[in-house]
Symmetry: C2
Subunit: 442 residues, 2 copies
């Protein structure tokens, strides 16, 4: 079989467009609704998607005035979804800066057991002062320090998952021995950030480790991804930028001693689908009109690290913005936005319109065949191993993609018509990791 | 309607008896099985139980050799169970010593939203050096310090749940306003243990606050319960001790300015049911024979704070055990066991047999009518508002209780035949708490 596309659905209540909740069709309480998330996940599973994904930060992210801001904790929401799905992977975001490794490693091990090997962890270091202030800090740890902690956090987590040998449990009723004692081992970790004795109180996950996912594109983020990540979500607005990122990540993975095929690169795209090109463009324009500019300006100012008053709706971005080095979070997002605004000479209003749709991700607007063509073009020209699908409006956007774009790609032999594996790793063609403690102790 | 009994099912894979996993009927992998937990919860819901409950500690609790030791993280497991149940309450244990309030308050708020108002939190401070060593500490915080932290943890958590007003969300599509900005408020908490800015990133839970549950019976534990707990799990081996505890707790609740009816006391009982009294006693004896004594001695020694070598199977407990004041955890459990052993002049082997069945909880052994009679007697004589049902063997123990004991109590008008409410608070007859920040800001 030829190389196959991979698809992840980025769950986001009424859609990734800022204003999607305001459409007549939208349920403005979908963000808190299990039923709404069950429906989205069922559509993706029926279309044989590899996974669904939830972003997260331990802070009230956006202004609650502007759009549905409350977010259910992702590992819990995905645990609920595990009960009503059978094959699709379940990827939750969680922060290495504001969790303890024992607790988080255990939650992901539990999700992997509950789902029969379908758990993934999108590892984030959590930018922003506001999050820090929810955890006893007056200011956030530096970008580099956050990534150092993330690196040690992963070291501890993988050791904890490996603290039970795969053959530890014998369940010998007659002898009264449930597990072989020396096959469950302390890890005795003592590092710069953490001291964790172990073992974990959950046996090794069905997948060995949950799938490790990453999304930061800063220099620190890319180095971290090259070392740890098995799937990478990226935001690149043009084909050329996607190709450059793809090549860079694969090269870094090789430099880190890894097989580049075991690092799956998934650019985020916003498919906007119409029966005709004009109809698709009209849908895009309708959404831009619904954005409330005062809220959007405040968000943009936060990412750029400037006073909102300096951003004038009908003027281009100010010339003297802080550089990527001068801000402590959203580094790659900031640079992507600034470059985009300057390259296309956009006003702040125009830039907000573009960002409202995809927040820096590429919008693929057109008929089903046009969208499928663009996906295939990226896939066959060194820009993607698959895509992180971010519909502007949900559930209609994923229903349209699943029913109209996916069949075209299946006919072309580029996407599965049935699941061939049962675990998330199997869907993405990734190996089950060997047990690191096993190698030492035998 | 007369005063009604309440029932909680304490979930524990193959049963609360140490050796239950060794029975021919038992699935020795039930501890990691979502299907096994779904079955138990369905039986309890079909019998109109108020709730199910999961104990927990962030450490490998028992020797993995002796019995199934791996435990799925309770908030995730209950989130899964929320998806396949509609009425029954879902109570998870979580530690105030080894979590951050922002994260934990959010998980319980999320569970409450996911389940439509069915979440409960069994608040524990987590005894033991082993747990401390999973979180960067060489020794555990003192008992008193743990309870001080727990108290502030609850203060922060309740403020976070109240940080969204009940009427914050207006979802006005036309005006583009999702929430009224000043109805979502920072909490600005600065205390001895925590600094948390807030607001929470989840709207107020359907129940206002999840049901607050507590189980420690030490002096610090009782004071904490009187202040915060709305349902209390207790372990008392005799009727007289249960009556004394019940009266003490209600008195302390009144002293704390609370309505004593809003503190529901639920003793743990181990129902062992047979067609005849002799058959029930035979089942009890069969389980005692299956206990592996070397493992049980090690567990007992940990609770008592002594070297396992000092416990001789066929001799009584040593005379010079450490006192309750001299140990830092399991304080009330230790005293209950020591008093029991001395009162009945039990050998270590006999004591282990009793503890294997109920770990200090009362065993109700007999025919269905005898078990129902004992429950009614406790309920009507100031010893209980209901019971925490801890079957020695699962699922058979809860199936027998649900099909044979519950109908007798329903016929006697002591237990509901249909749910009358939809939330966990409604099942237990507890009020939805007012919003504390609301009172201040209006």
């Amino acid at each position: 079989m030829s190389r196959q596309l991979h698809f992840n659905l980025f769950l986001h209540d009424t859609g990734h467009h800022e204003a999607s909740w305001r459409l007549p069709e939208s349920d403005p309480h979908a963000n808190l609704s299990l039923a709404a998330h069950q429906h989205l996940t069922r559509v993706a599973e029926d279309a044989r998607f590899d996974s669904v994904f939830l972003a997260d930060s331990p802070v009230l992210w956006s202004d609650p005035g502007r759009r549905p801001a409350g977010k259910l904790e992702p590992t819990l929401l995905l645990a609920s979804l595990a009960a009503t799905t059978t094959r699709i992977g379940l990827i939750a975001t969680a922060s290495t800066s504001y969790n303890e490794p024992f607790n988080l490693a255990r939650r992901f091990a539990s999700l992997d057991h509950l789902s029969g090997g379908r758990a993934g962890w999108n590892i984030v270091t959590t930018a922003g002062e506001a999050a820090a202030r929810n955890f006893g800090l007056d200011e956030q740890p530096q970008h580099r320090t956050r990534y150092e902690r993330a690196d040690e956090f992963l070291e501890v987590s993988t050791k904890l998952w490996d603290s039970w040998a795969d053959d530890a449990i014998v369940a010998d009723k007659g002898a009264g021995v449930h597990a072989v004692k020396d096959r469950v081992r302390a890890i005795g970790h003592r590092g710069k950030f953490f001291q964790v004795e172990g073992p974990l109180n959950v046996p090794r996950p069905p997948q060995g480790h949950p799938l490790l996912v990453q999304a930061g594109s800063s220099e620190n983020g890319r180095e971290f991804a090259a070392k740890w990540a098995e799937a990478i979500f990226v935001a690149q607005p043009t084909l050329a930028e996607s190709q450059a990122f793809y090549a860079d990540l694969k090269r870094r993975a090789v430099a880190a001693g890894r097989n580049p095929d075991h690092v799956v690169v998934l650019p985020g795209i916003v498919p906007v689908i119409g029966d005709t090109p004009a109809q698709a463009r009209e849908l895009e324009a309708e959404l831009e009109r619904l954005i409330a500019p005062e809220f959007a300006v405040a968000t943009l100012a936060t990412v750029l690290g400037v006073d909102p008053a300096r951003l004038k709706l009908d003027e281009p971005l100010p010339a003297d913005l802080p550089t990527e080095d001068e801000i402590e979070g959203h580094k790659s997002r900031r640079t992507l936005i600034v470059d985009w605004g300057r390259r296309e000479n956009l006003t702040v209003r125009q830039l907000i319109g573009k960002l409202g749709g995809g927040r820096g991700h590429r919008t693929f607007t057109g008929t089903p065949v046009q969208v499928a063509d663009t996906i295939q073009h990226y896939f066959e020209n060194g820009a993607a191993d698959g895509f992180n699908i971010m519909p502007a409006v949900l559930p209609s956007g994923i229903e349209a993609f699943a029913s109209r774009v996916v069949p075209i790609l299946q006919e072309r032999g580029l996407f599965r018509t049935e699941y061939t594996g049962t675990t998330l790793r199997e869907h993405y063609g990734l190996p089950r990791p060997a047990n690191s403690l096993e190698l030492i102790s035998r």
